[in-house]
């Protein structure tokens, strides 16, 4: 078990430089803005004193190295600064916005996995008909931009059939059923494309496992075909599927930025887009930071799960 423990520790340590790089990128956002970022933020009608005051509040008048360590210290203390427009605490803002993004991406991924994995297995082991049908679903699912799919779903389910609201949001704890009604279309929109990717990955991973020699030996042992597929092929395909799910969480977080804007969901993605359009750089920084941190965390968890699923990875042995 020591090699496993070493694997976990090594992977945890590897996260530190990644977090540092991420923090530098986020730190630089405001400082790389061409010209005077504060002037850009406040607009040309702002007075010189006003500009200087905000510059001082943001610490932009200090040496850059000091600025970075102040920034890092703030992050570690949980002090994320304040929103330039609303003067609200960004930490509070994030606490409001994050649950929306989590609900959206979490539900979408859940549905995508529940649909994509079983269909992928069927596509890998089934007859020609199911192969063709899933192939078509994959090509369309990958080719249709999610925001257009969302618009078309609104056209069908909200404008025409009037079954679901076209946009808006109610927190789950206020009205659970209404919350789900508002979430239905955005979640469905994100889930379709994801399901296509997961289906495709599952199919090719299971297909390739089914050609491996040990499947021949399982048949020679008289093991049933369904047990071979679900007990062995899917088990061996699991690391690749989990890896792709981990990567796709990043795609999903990107998709959430668009989908939250489209459906007027008050999540972190919409926060960032609005902030960019308002030149509200501190808020952009915090939003980017939050999404990137989730992404890095998910990558970490994915790698640990893959290591646990495939003992050869955590033992450091070559395949």
């Amino acid at each position: 078990m020591t090699s496993r423990l070493r694997f976990v520790i090594r992977r945890l340590l590897l996260t530190i430089p990644v977090l540092l790089v991420m923090s530098i990128i986020v730190f630089l956002i405001i400082r790389l803005v061409p010209g005077d970022p504060v002037r850009t933020m406040l607009g040309f009608r702002a007075t010189a004193e006003n500009v200087e005051q905000v510059r001082h509040e943001l610490g932009l008048d200090r040496p850059i190295v000091t600025q970075y360590f102040d920034f890092l210290g703030g992050l570690l203390r949980g002090d994320l600064g304040t929103d330039i427009v609303s003067h609200a605490s960004l930490a509070d803002l994030l606490a409001q916005r994050l649950p929306v993004t989590f609900e959206l991406t979490g539900l979408a991924m859940l549905i995508a996995v529940l649909v994509g994995v079983p269909l992928g297995v069927r596509a890998a082991t089934g007859g020609r008909w199911i192969k063709r049908a899933t192939e078509g679903f994959v090509v369309l699912g990958v080719s249709i931009p999610d925001f257009w799919l969302g618009i078309m779903l609104v056209l069908v389910f909200a404008s025409t059939l009037v079954l679901l609201p076209p946009s808006g949001y109610v927190p789950f704890e206020v009205a659970p059923l209404d919350n789900l009604r508002y979430m239905a279309l955005p979640v469905l929109t994100l889930a379709v494309g994801e399901a296509a990717y997961i289906l495709r990955t599952t199919r090719s991973a299971v297909e390739s496992v089914m050609t491996r020699p040990f499947v021949g030996f399982l048949r020679a042992k008289g093991v049933s075909e369904s047990r071979i597929v679900f007990g062995h092929a899917l088990r061996n395909a699991a690391p690749s599927i989990v890896t792709v799910i981990g990567i796709q969480v990043g795609v999903l977080l990107g998709g959430a930025i668009i989908i939250e804007t489209l459906f007027a969901l008050p999540g972190v993605g919409r926060l960032v887009v609005t902030a960019i359009n308002q030149r509200n750089y501190p808020t952009v920084q915090v939003g980017v930071l939050a999404i990137a941190a989730i992404f890095i965390l998910v990558s970490l968890v994915t790698d640990l799960v893959v290591g646990w699923l495939d003992p050869r990875v955590s033992d450091g042995a070559a395949t």
């Binding site: 040990f214 048949r219 020679a220 042992k221 093991v223 088990r235």
Partner: protein, 333 residues
């Protein structure tokens, strides 16, 4: 002794076209209960295809004709369900590369218990205990603690022992071993062969051992069949075959592997090339490379059914003085 496995006119073709020649061409043979029967030949001669056909493990594109009876029960043409009930229970097969035969993600012990539970209604715990006993029997030290190990933590020889234990878990009547030692070091090879022989002695399991290595044949086989280009060309007791090979191909094969029985060697020193299955050859398929070729060999294949100490050849090597064979009259014209 009675025949445990009898094959009659076994034929395996790939693809639909009638013109496609057979990968296995009218092979008939009987394997007696309790013996170790070797099938030897170069790679591509059809020996593995023959074994997989008996097991019902060929892909759907393969057409199998003829008859294969296990204890007088026809196994060709059985539906998948009945085949599955036979495989791992009445007959088992092990493959060349043990590392590739084990699921890398499953603990080795569970892969043995799986065979048991596929055929017997026993509890998990009982299956586990039986698997540990089997691991001990095939010579894995400290079996209980190795039960949960992933395959990559075991050496190649140990993995092959696990594979053998998994194949023999239900005490099948027949074990087909396809190049079971080819992927192993020479010293480990000998141990695994010893193990196969010991298991045969203890349980009376009939073994069909497929190999390209005459050294392996000499070491453990009771009788041996020689295959060339999809056909069975000679069947003999092992001692007789080495002492007096009858078919010119067998003779060439022996000549090409001088190091018997210590060293395995690829059989590359026979002049000419093995014909491809698609080549249409009237007459004997060995004619091009044969030093004893007659006119007849060019036109008529020797298709006499092959039984003990028989040889499918119009002009076989003469028997040395003192050895007599019932086929002498047939062979010498």
């Amino acid at each position: 002794m009675t025949a445990l496995l009898s094959l009659t006119d076994m034929e395996v073709r790939f693809g639909a076209a009638e013109s496609m020649a057979s990968a296995v061409d009218s092979v008939s043979l009987e394997v007696k209960s309790g013996e170790i029967f070797g099938i030897v030949g170069e790679s591509g001669c059809g020996k593995s295809t023959l074994a997989n056909a008996v097991m019902g493990l060929l892909p759907g594109a393969a057409h199998v004709d003829g008859s294969a009876k296990l204890q007088n029960r026809e196994v060709l043409g059985l539906d998948e369900k009945s085949l599955r009930a036979l495989r791992g229970d009445e007959m088992s097969m092990i493959f060349q590369d043990a590392s590739a035969s084990l699921d890398p993600t499953w603990p080795v012990g569970d892969q043995i218990a799986e065979t048991i539970r596929a055929h017997r209604k026993v509890s998990r715990r009982e299956a586990k205990q039986q698997a540990i006993d089997l691991m001990t029997e095939v010579g894995i030290p400290d079996a209980a603690s190795r039960y949960g190990d992933a395959p990559h933590r075991l050496s190649g020889g140990m993995r092959q022992r696990i594979v053998i234990a998994a194949a023999l878990a239900n005490q099948p009547k027949l074990l087909i071993a396809d190049e079971p030692t080819t992927a192993l070091d020479v010293t480990i090879q000998a141990q695994v062969l010893q193990l196969i022989r010991r298991l045969r002695d203890d349980h009376g399991t009939t073994v069909v051992l497929i190999t390209h290595d005459l050294g392996v044949v000499a070491e453990i086989c009771d009788r041996v069949g020689v295959m060339y280009a999809g056909q069975l060309v000679e069947v003999a007791d092992t001692a007789d075959l080495f002492a007096a090979p009858r078919h010119p191909y067998t003779r060439a094969l022996l000549a090409a592997s001088p190091g018997v029985p210590t060293e395995s060697r690829r059989l590359a020193t026979i002049p000419g090339q093995v014909p491809a299955p698609s080549d249409q050859i009237p007459g004997c398929r060995f004619q091009e490379r044969c030093p004893r070729r007659l006119e007849t060999c060019m036109t008529t294949p020797h298709r006499e059914p092959v039984f003990p100490n028989e040889v499918a050849c119009w002009n076989p090597e003469p028997l040395p003085a003192g050895m007599a064979s019932p086929t002498d009259l047939l062979g010498e014209k």
